[in-house]
Amino acid sequence: MLENERQIAMTMKPHRVAQIFRARFARTAGIVYIGHLDLMRTFERVCRRAEFPILYSQGYNPRPSMVFALPLGVGVATTSDYVDIFLEERIDAAIIISRFNQFCPNGLRLLEGGYVSSDSGSLMAEVSAATYHIASPNIREYTEKLLQRDSIMVMKRSKGKMKEAEIRDLFLEVSQEESEPHSISITVLAGSSRNLRPDLFLEAMSELEAYPSIDKDNAMVTRTALFMGEYPHLEPLSKTYS
């Protein structure tokens, strides 16, 4: 009986249709040194300060509804990351961006964005590849050497245990700018199924090619693009709202 009543009550509850604002954001400066959970919390607080009509999750401990495309490692900057912010009502994109930037700490910035339909796929599931720009002495030469290998085995932490993993097939493209002799851009598989973290790439270079560990530790890593689709038909995630 009780079960039945609850079911009726649940069906009678007005179904809340979220307006999903997909934003592209950048992070630089000191705030690159915070972890993903801290970044999420920071986003929540910015949205609360900016007084967005944000939708809260249901349940015991309601949280502002927000989904990030792909967690950013501690120490990794970005010029192109994505977050879905779930709102109760539609607000002009320009207003969201300017208010967010007015209330967010230094180093964090919304760049652009737009609404995506609520039946579009989950942002996390869309991600298929990412580009990382890595600035570090002699990184080109070492990358070339590393990628000449048919197999690149690294030790990777998985479910608390260290396991050996093959990462050679995660590399998609390597590119470089003439004006920046000590940097490189790598495009690699990314997302929930197959993902290469840039620190693992640097680790492999250090382990297999004896890349100096001081350079490895100090390499400046910036995520510069997130893609959807299957290689070689990658499309930037910004396609979903523009």
């Binding site: 972890g35 959970l37 607080r45 300060r49 120490g75 967010c104 100090n218 390499a219 400046m220």
Partner: protein, 636 residues
């Protein structure tokens, strides 16, 4: 970031930051951080600044320091002053400490990463005795001498404040001056003096540090340790406390804020990027506590009780919630239930906050049917644990310590709570209280047992079958503190306490009761520091040089090593801890005046031994002496 070399900036590489635990501790840049751009411009273009640079120092790690309300208050007060730039500096955790020593990097502020040596004033907020050695760590990493007397005219002025400074004697000689009591007003006055001092440095007749201290000592609440000397008897007790200059007052009076509605409160504090210990915004309800529990230092040193008006409070609450984005606002005071307009305050705040998914947390509630209702109101349907602090196991001993809570109070509130669905209860007690016997110790177990039995009775009656209570009994060791009626008491010994813990653990055996206790050694060392005198400075610096610091962290505190250092200086633990003092003995803090008279404290001690209670201030003045401040509850 290196626009110009004239700004000293401590550079940390990405590799440095990624090699330590939680690098967010060291990067600053949080929401609410204050950086004075005009000061930066001056530093860049002229290499020097007219701004008074104040480094607000907290001798513990970021997550602890940023949780402290005093830090937020002082940061705001100082930065609101024209021409003052206040920045934060904290203890780097051991990994960063090692890295900085290896690379010869000085300790820096979060705002501009300037070394502490570049500042005019280093102001330490001292919240607990066990942080003393981390003051040395921060000075050491900055290349600054520990003793005020060893520092030159060009070194920063080093000052301190906070609840621990009522007996700062163990490290008093570190500081040029110490602020006693509440800092909002006196700090601003001191900054005025500092401006004159700093400006004079550019003239032909620079003001000396000595004359700065002389001027500062005229401000109420300023204590200059170098104006006093201690002479000791052969038995180690103090023979006399003498003033060394004619203008030094015989005793230095603490400063308080008369009207809390008239001082600024930080409604836009720094919001950390990373999770800290108390990750919420804080709203201060009132200062002081009128209960007069005889073991509680806060209950005496913060007198008289002064409330904020409900208008001020609500205004600050709304501002705080909007400006920080926090989803939890904690109200802060020594005894929340005693705030006279608490029901009205909650009526006004709870609903609008709930609409914004913001919760209020109410610590320090005395539990009764009224506060249970409040908790329902603020926490909605969430039934988190209930906490009681009876402190002692028998009514006799509760009368001795003047803890105005009876077993019936506890049981009747718990009956309501259990019927309302609560099942987790925490009970806090102290072991080693004056006059304690084994009967009192076993009384703790009896209370816990009664609570357990009550739960099942209520559960049966209400038809709440198959549920079990979770009862946690926690004991800490009584630490006699200065400026309490128990300041003369001997502390119980570790051996005796161990026996008591054993007996209690045996008596508490039940699958529904968990027993936990604080580390005894930590409490013994804390007791030594709390009632220590100036002879401890050599002990503490010596220990620090041997790597003993972060004493507030159980896994860093090395009791046996400390005992060895103490003995090597010819001092004994028992002299400071397990020794009761006579009424006539000169105490190391006798030249400090908190408003409450020593004779009143001694009278309260006599009352304790007669097992007589003293009613709270509200029911009529007990003539403790704080009425001289003529404000708050004393002003009625």
């Amino acid at each position: 970031m290196n626009e110009n070399n004239s700004i000293h900036r401590v550079e940390l590489s990405r590799g440095d930051l990624l090699s330590v635990e939680n690098p967010a501790r060291y990067v600053g840049g949080e929401w609410g951080e204050v950086i004075k751009s005009e000061m930066l411009r001056q530093l860049r273009e002229e290499g020097t600044t007219s701004y008074l640079r104040f480094a607000l120092c907290f001798p513990d790690i970021y997550e602890i320091a940023m949780s402290n309300l005093a830090m937020k208050i002082l940061y705001k007060i100082l930065n609101d002053i024209d021409g003052v730039a206040c920045e934060r500096a904290f203890s780097p955790w051991k990994d960063m400490d090692r890295l900085m020593r290896d690379k010869a990097l000085p300790l820096f502020t979060l705002e501009t990463r300037s070394p502490l040596n570049d500042f005019d004033v280093l102001g330490f907020s001292l919240q607990y005795e066990m942080c003393f050695t981390n003051v040395f760590q921060m000075l050491d990493l900055s290349g600054i001498s520990f003793r005020a007397s060893e520092r030159s005219e060009s070194d920063p002025i080093v000052v301190a404040g906070g609840p621990v400074v009522y007996n700062i004697e163990p490290i008093a000689e570190v500081f040029d001056l110490v602020f006693l009591g509440e800092g909002e007003e006196v700090l601003a006055e001191f900054m005025d003096l500092m401006k004159i001092y700093k400006a004079s440095a550019r003239t032909n007749e620079p003001m000396s540090k000595a004359s700065l201290l002389k001027e500062a000592s005229k401000l109420e609440g300023v204590y200059v340790p170098s104006y006093y000397s201690m002479d000791y008897n052969t038995d180690g007790t103090i023979k006399s406390i003498d003033t060394l200059v004619e203008w030094a007052p015989k005793s230095v009076r603490k400063r308080i804020i008369s009207n809390l509605d008239c001082v600024d409160f930080p409604t836009n504090p720094v919001v950390p990027h990373t999770k800290i210990v108390h990750d919420r915004a804080y709203l201060e309800l009132f200062r002081g506590c009128s209960r007069g529990c005889r073991f509680c230092q806060a209950g005496y040193v913060y007198r008289p009780v002064r409330e904020k008006s409900i208008e001020t409070l609500c205004g600050q609450g709304y501002e705080l919630e909007a400006a920080t984005g926090y989803d939890e606002i904690g109200v802060l005071s020594l005894s929340t239930s005693d705030y006279s307009s608490l029901p009205e305050f909650l009526d006004i705040m709870v609903e609008p906050f709930a609409d914004r998914h913001t919760s209020l947390s109410l610590p320090s509630l005395r539990l009764d049917s009224f506060s249970l209702e409040l908790m329902e109101k603020v926490s909605g349907t969430r039934k988190t644990g209930l906490t009681f602090a009876p402190e002692a196991g028998t009514q006799r001993l509760r009368d001795v310590i003047n803890k105005g809570i009876t077993e019936e109070d506890i049981m009747s509130s718990l009956e309501l709570a259990f019927a309302g669905g609560w099942q987790r209860v925490k009970l806090y007690f102290m072991l080693g209280l004056p006059t304690e016997t084994m009967e009192d110790v076993l009384g703790i177990a009896q209370i816990a047992r009664r609570v357990e039995k009550l739960f099942f009775e209520v559960a049966n009656r209400e038809g709440l079958k198959r549920r079990k209570p979770e009862i946690v009994v926690s004991t800490s060791m009584f630490i006699p503190k200065p400026f309490t009626p128990f300041q003369w008491e001997a502390q119980d010994t570790i051996e005796s306490l161990r026996d008591k813990q054993k007996v209690l653990a045996e008596a508490l055996k039940s699958r529904n009761i968990k027993y936990s206790w604080h580390d005894l050694k930590t409490s013994v060392w804390e007791a030594l520091l709390a009632r220590g005198d100036r002879r401890l400075l050599d002990v503490l610096t010596d220990g620090y040089r041997q790597g003993l610091y972060f004493d507030a962290w159980d896994d860093c505190f090395r009791y046996e090593d400390w005992l060895r250092v103490l003995e090597s200086h010819g001092l004994s633990l028992d002299f400071f801890g397990a020794r009761s003092r006579g009424e006539e003995e000169i105490l190391p803090w006798d030249h400090i005046d908190i408003g409450v008279r020593k004779s009143y404290l001694f009278h309260e001690r006599a009352m304790a031994y007669q097992e007589k209670t003293t009613a709270p201030c509200h029911g009529g003045c007990r003539a403790c002496g704080a009425a001289e401040y003529n404000t708050g509850v004393c002003h009625a």
